[in-house]
């Protein structure tokens, strides 16, 4: 078979596929032929694609309503308006995603700055996990304080407060480093103004949310507030969660807790607003003597 024959067959097959709709005709999802690169010395010197201007670049070719599309894209941090190559994303959108994922993965193993702890006089206790690997693999141990931790708490904490505040890095030390300096003063000030007694705050290394039960038991607190780093998302590696529970004691579950998540300046609830909401919620728990499902879902 000659090469001309093969070429003719290929062209016939392509034409048939197009007719069947299995290959796109020219237009959406198809790219025009790549422009040839200029000859000469290779010089590639790129701006940062993660910067806002480039990150928000719209990749749809020939939209119905370009201005409308830009408006739609401005309403959300979700990756819309990225365009397509056939049914797949365009190259720049694909690479930005991979870059964001890479940075998030690199950030999992951070540590909380000692200055942040010092700023709020947080002493540190540990859960029963030995290291970060065990913390990731054994959530049960991350929910339990060591005996040494309980002894330290008994020695250093004001017993039986109305609100006990504790802090943990969880899966994002950056969340504590970035949000705690803003949210904690709002909460402390708000509770003081409301005349609520607040216990001695402390930091828990390698904590899971369920550690609130041990904290409640060790301090005798009426309510416990846990500020803990969330697992990083793409491009948002510093979101904090606030978990609150009325009389958390061993056996209490997520259904007994209330939660505010995504506390971050990067597209979530800003820590100042979140702090005000936490104060309001804790007061409601103290008033109603309940939390979680028992408190009802009408409020907020």
């Amino acid at each position: 078979m000659s090469s001309a024959d093969i070429d003719a067959i290929v062209q016939a097959v392509l034409a048939e596929l197009r007719r069947d709709g299995r290959l796109p005709s020219d237009g959406g999802g198809s790219a025009s032929a790549p422009a040839p690169a200029a000859e000469g010395e290779v010089v590639i010197d790129l701006p940062d694609p993660a910067d806002d201007a480039l990150r928000r670049r719209i990749g749809v070719t020939d939209p119905v309503d370009a201005e409308g599309l830009a408006n739609l894209c401005s309403t959300t941090t979700a990756r819309i308006g990225v365009g397509r190559a056939g049914p797949r994303p365009r190259t720049s959108a694909l690479l930005l995603f991979q870059g964001d994922h890479g940075v998030a993965q690199d950030a999992i193993y951070g540590t909380v700055d000692e200055e942040v702890k010092a700023q709020f006089d947080l002493f540190t206790v540990e859960t029963q996990t030995a290291d970060q690997d065990e913390y990731l693999l054994r959530p049960d141990l991350g929910r339990r304080l060591t005996d040494e931790a309980k002894a330290t708490i008994a020695e250093r904490c004001k017993p039986n407060p109305q609100v006990q505040i504790v802090v943990g890095a969880g899966l994002s030390a950056a969340a504590v480093n970035h949000q705690l300096p803003d949210i904690l003063p709002v909460i402390q000030q708000g509770l003081a103004t409301a005349g609520v007694s607040v216990g001695t705050p402390f930091y828990i290394e390698r904590a899971r949310v369920g550690v609130m039960n041990d904290v409640g038991e060790a301090t005798g607190a009426e309510t416990v507030l846990l500020l803990i780093g969330e697992r990083p998302g793409l491009g948002v590696a510093d979101a904090l969660s606030a978990y609150m529970g009325y009389q958390p004691r061993p056996g209490k579950t997520d259904a007994d807790r209330d939660l505010i998540c995504m506390i971050t300046y990067a597209g979530g609830t800003n820590p100042l607003e979140a702090g005000a909401y936490v104060v309001e919620k804790l007061q409601e728990m103290l008033r109603e003597k309940a939390s979680g499902v028992a408190l009802g879902r009408e409020d907020g």
Binding site: T76, A78, H101, G267, E298
Partner: protein
């Protein structure tokens, strides 16, 4: 009870059916963390050898949690068709596997036997199956359901349009919905995970999604994945609900951690039938995932596959429109890496279908798992080949609210194109009518959210 075998000269003995099931399970970090996994690969295979000889009747007699102590066990056991059970109770698990795979076993035969299965039986046979076994057997079983459109038919692949926003912005969510619709995502459901689980906020998003469905005459349904009690309250107040959602788990105690019980789900199902604006008869949507019972310390010493299988038995009580495992969401402490996530996705899909429910998959992972987007694309292809009913559609696979990654708006049309699949029939006709799809392929107008600014 004596459960013993030799393998390469070493004797392995197992103390109970529950222990045997756990040790026969494919490697999962959750089972290892719970201290119930096989100590060695050889012990795992030895356990499978013994399990292959256990009868389905024995499995029914040994549920993970006793009948008297657990309402999930009771729901499943009470639903067993006794006539069919009498026919199969003497089957050994190893023979059951071969029966499922045999070319002489028709889909109708499997569907009939589903009526007599408990979670323990479904999990047991799954442990004896390789990944391709799971795909081939699942592919045979067609479970379709109808709400405003028809899901689960062979040759169809649906996509849940999941337009989440970190602060529930109505405009932001609407924009993402438009984007998804323009790629052909939304035939399974337009389903939002709200950040704010209050009736007011949930009702506002229900109204907005309903308005889009009405204005564009989309053959689909909406859903707000808030706590079921919030949705019930919203329905009572007149909010337009298409599907009613809840996360469920495989034991009574684990469901308590979600703040639900069977009575509450019964009430939700009853309300759905009375208040949903959709045609039905299938109104419910559930999410599950291996490890949820263990994470609530409510696994009763059973492995995560057994607890997951029990979910599907519970879900079946409500004749759901769709159920999906959220397979990598829970994190590496339960499914450590891409190998375990992939395996679990194939297992869960098969188990759901074998139980007789319309099964999809949120193929996903978190940033602290040893997995990346390529692994999820792989899993989606495998599951599509296995006949999975639907996946999630999320902008570029990156959920702006839940901080995890799953399949994207681009993935549904890609999988359809790759494997010759089509959207749900009513939805495909709708897309063709708008000129967004022709002969199963996106047209040049697709992939442009501003298309939906025209009405």
């Amino acid at each position: 009870m004596l459960l013993r075998t030799k393998l390469y000269g070493t004797t392995y003995e197992f103390g109970s059916i529950k222990e045997l099931l756990a040790k026969a399970n494919e490697e999962k970090s959750g089972d290892r963390g719970a201290g119930i996994a096989a100590d060695s690969v050889a012990e795992r295979v030895a356990a499978r050898g013994v399990l292959a000889e256990v009868t389905l009747g024995t499995l029914r007699e040994n549920p993970a949690v006793p009948y008297e102590d657990d309402e999930v066990t009771r729901v499943i056991d009470d639903a067993v068709n006794e006539w069919i059970f009498a026919e199969i109770k003497g089957w050994k698990v190893g023979d059951f596997r071969e029966w499922l795979l045999a070319d002489t076993t028709t889909p109708a035969m499997i569907t009939r036997v589903s009526g007599a299965l408990t979670g323990e039986m479904v999990a047991a046979v799954t442990k004896l199956m390789s990944n391709m076994d799971l795909m081939l057997a699942a592919r045979k079983i067609e479970v379709s359901a109808h709400c405003n459109n028809t899901i689960g038919l062979h040759g169809r692949l649906a996509s849940r349009n999941q337009p989440n926003h970190p602060t529930d912005s109505v405009e932001g969510i609407r924009a993402a919905i438009y984007e998804g619709l323009s790629y052909g995502s939304g035939d399974s459901v337009i389903g939002i995970n709200p950040s704010d689980d209050t009736v007011g906020s949930v009702a506002r998003l229900l109204e907005m999604t309903y308005e889009i469905i009405e204005r564009w005459e989309i053959p689909t349904q909406n859903c707000l994945l808030a706590h079921v009690t919030t949705q019930m309250e919203a329905m009572r107040k007149g909010a337009p609900v298409g599907l009613v959602f809840q996360s469920i788990a495989g034991s009574q105690k684990a469901n308590e951690a979600f703040g639900v019980d069977v009575a509450m789900l019964d009430e939700a199902y009853d309300l759905a039938k009375r208040y949903c604006f959709t045609a039905g008869p299938n109104y419910m949507y559930f999410e599950t995932g291996q490890g949820t019972a263990l994470s609530a310390d409510a696994h009763h010493g059973a492995d995560q596959l057994v607890m997951e299988a029990r979910n599907y038995g519970l879900a079946k009580r409500y004749d759901p429109y769709q159920v999906n495992t959220v397979v990598g969401f829970i994190g590496p402490e339960y499914l450590y890496d891409a190998v375990q996530i992939t395996r679990a996705g194939l297992e869960d899909h098969f188990m759901g279908k074998l139980t007789g429910i319309s099964m999809g998959c949120d193929a996903c992972y978190t940033n602290h798992a040893v997995a990346a987007q390529n692994d999820i694309e792989n899993l989606a292809v495998l599951l599509s080949a296995a006949g999975c009913n639907y996946f999630m559609g999320v902008p570029m696979g990156d959920d702006a609210m839940l901080s995890y990654q799953c399949t994207s708006y681009h993935d549904a049309p890609s999988l359809r194109q790759l494997l010759g699949l089509r959207p749900l029939p009513e939805f495909e006709a709708w897309m063709e009518g708008l000129g967004l799809m022709a002969d199963g392929v996106l047209t040049e107008r697709a992939g442009d959210a501003s298309f939906f600014l025209q009405r």
